[in-house]
């Protein structure tokens, strides 16, 4: 029965480590030149903007945030450790810049007991099938309505296809917290979608 679960989902995860080395290749010169920064940073531009726009809900703010991220990253590039994850480093700078902005500070919420929650498998129901098949617009609206800590971890995991370890580095939290927060984020998203779906016969 499990054979229908697409293998590439799992294969894709396995490639992540290889994928990240693209962004974290070593540069021989100890004083990393601006050209090396440009080569590694510019390919991330679209995805950083997408992430920033989801966080801020505003194009102008997202642009400011991305510009600030690139400026800070360029200034701090000398302290970047070659061989470590450049993508996670860039996302961490963007995220920290966002959290220290006025908009970001207003989005902080308390997430209690994160270590004690874990995913439980529910049996598939007509409703859960409908949730899985919810339309793109409905999912976008639900994502936009999630609290920032849930929205950002879902984007990093599903859209950026980061591994748990990479998310942990980006968000500066333990891997265990990544797992529990992901679980809570997915649960919150499913509940939002469920509340917006037309009623189904149960």
């Amino acid at each position: 029965m499990a054979g229908f679960i697409p293998r590439k989902i799992f294969a894709g995860r396995g490639n992540k480590t290889r994928g990240t080395t693209v962004y974290s290749r070593e540069v021989p010169d100890q004083r990393l030149p601006a050209v090396a920064f440009e080569e590694q940073a510019l390919p991330l531009f679209d995805q950083l903007f997408n992430f920033a726009r989801w966080l801020t809900h505003d194009t102008a703010e997202a642009e400011d945030l991305v510009q600030e991220t690139y400026a800070k990253a360029l200034r701090g590039f000398g302290s970047f450790q070659p061989g470590t994850n450049f993508r996670a480093w860039m996302y961490r700078i963007l995220r920290n810049s966002f959290l220290s902005s006025r908009t970001g500070m207003n989005t902080l919420i308390s997430l209690d007991n994160e270590e004690h929650e874990a995913a439980a498998a529910d049996l598939s129901t007509p409703e859960s099938v409908m949730i899985a098949d919810a339309g793109r617009e409905m999912i976008r609206q639900a994502l936009a309505d999630l609290p920032v800590p849930f929205r950002e971890i879902l984007l990093l995991c599903e859209v950026e296809e980061m591994s748990y370890q990479e998310i942990a580095e980006t968000m500066n939290i333990p891997v265990g917290t990544v797992m529990s927060r992901l679980f809570r984020a997915r649960k919150a998203l499913r509940e939002l979608l469920r509340s917006r779906l037309p009623a189904v016969d149960r």
């Binding site: 531009f45 903007f49 498998a121 598939s124």
Partner: protein, 251 residues
């Protein structure tokens, strides 16, 4: 109702984060438990839906260029007291960066030319065909429904009454392995193609509109409702622009 085998592991499993030994045990369980397998499938499908829905926003070309320039023109601070270094290091950095920016701009421009050339080919090939359109009608309410069941998206076509444009018809087209709609309009003696594709399948984020100088075609492109529109024809800039506006405003 929770399953004791899948409990706590199902999300890590669908995320590909479970250690191989545990993943193998869970996969074995999913082979014999239809309910748990269905649950896992729901989770995989939701993951995919989020991945598609989450790729939503694209930076403007102007913003991309602004940031590329801002990181390209900041010189590295000189660390030694040598006077020649104080002058030479920033100059070298500026030189390296301007070469980089130039290369980037050239690459962008070459990419743009390539995309428009391919579209111009599609436009010319359609006009050269025995039947340029698969559905022949000047009625937008005939042409639009013709694409139902052929494309996984829909779009609005403008009312042309009182304008110089006439809808000739539509046809299916394929651009970079992506199915799309091609509509052919006429303005005076000129025929204009309008291409509509789902943008997520095309790498067209940085395309800018503008005339195709090499082939003398005029073009326009924009994003609307997650769809990428291209207008290509030998009519003048003003005609292309006016038709683009009609399409953008179509209800």
């Amino acid at each position: 109702m929770a399953c004791t085998v899948c409990n706590e592991k199902i999300d890590a499993y669908v995320d590909g984060e479970l250690p191989p030994a545990e993943a193998s045990v869970l996969a074995g369980h999913l082979r014999i438990s239809a309910a748990c397998a269905a649950d896992a499938l729901d989770r995989v499908r939701l993951k995919r839906s989020i991945a598609v829905a989450g790729k939503r926003y694209q930076p403007s070309t102007q913003f991309r260029e602004r940031v590329a320039q801002s990181i390209a023109t900041q010189p590295e601070p000189a660390k030694s007291g040598w006077h020649w270094r104080i002058l030479a290091v920033p100059a070298l950095v500026v030189l390296l960066i301007s070469v980089g920016v130039n290369t980037y701009a050239k690459r962008d421009s070459a990419r743009r030319e390539r995309v428009y050339s391919e579209l111009a080919d599609l436009h010319v090939a359609a006009l050269a065909a025995t039947s340029p359109v698969d559905v022949v009608s000047s009625d937008r309410h005939t042409v639009k429904p013709w694409f139902q069941g052929k494309l996984p998206f829909t779009f609005n076509l403008p009312e042309l009454q009182g304008t110089d444009y006439t809808l000739i018809g539509g046809r299916m087209t394929y651009f970079r392995q992506t199915a799309g709609a091609q509509l052919i309009y006429q303005v005076r003696k000129h025929l204009i193609s309008v291409f509509i594709f789902q943008d997520r399948d095309l790498d067209t984020a940085s395309l800018r509109p503008g005339p195709l100088t090499a082939l003398s075609f005029h073009t326009e492109t924009w994003m609307q409702d997650d769809l990428r529109y291209f207008v290509v024809g030998d009519a003048g800039d003003n005609d292309i622009e006016a038709l683009s506006k009609l399409l953008r405003d179509a209800k």
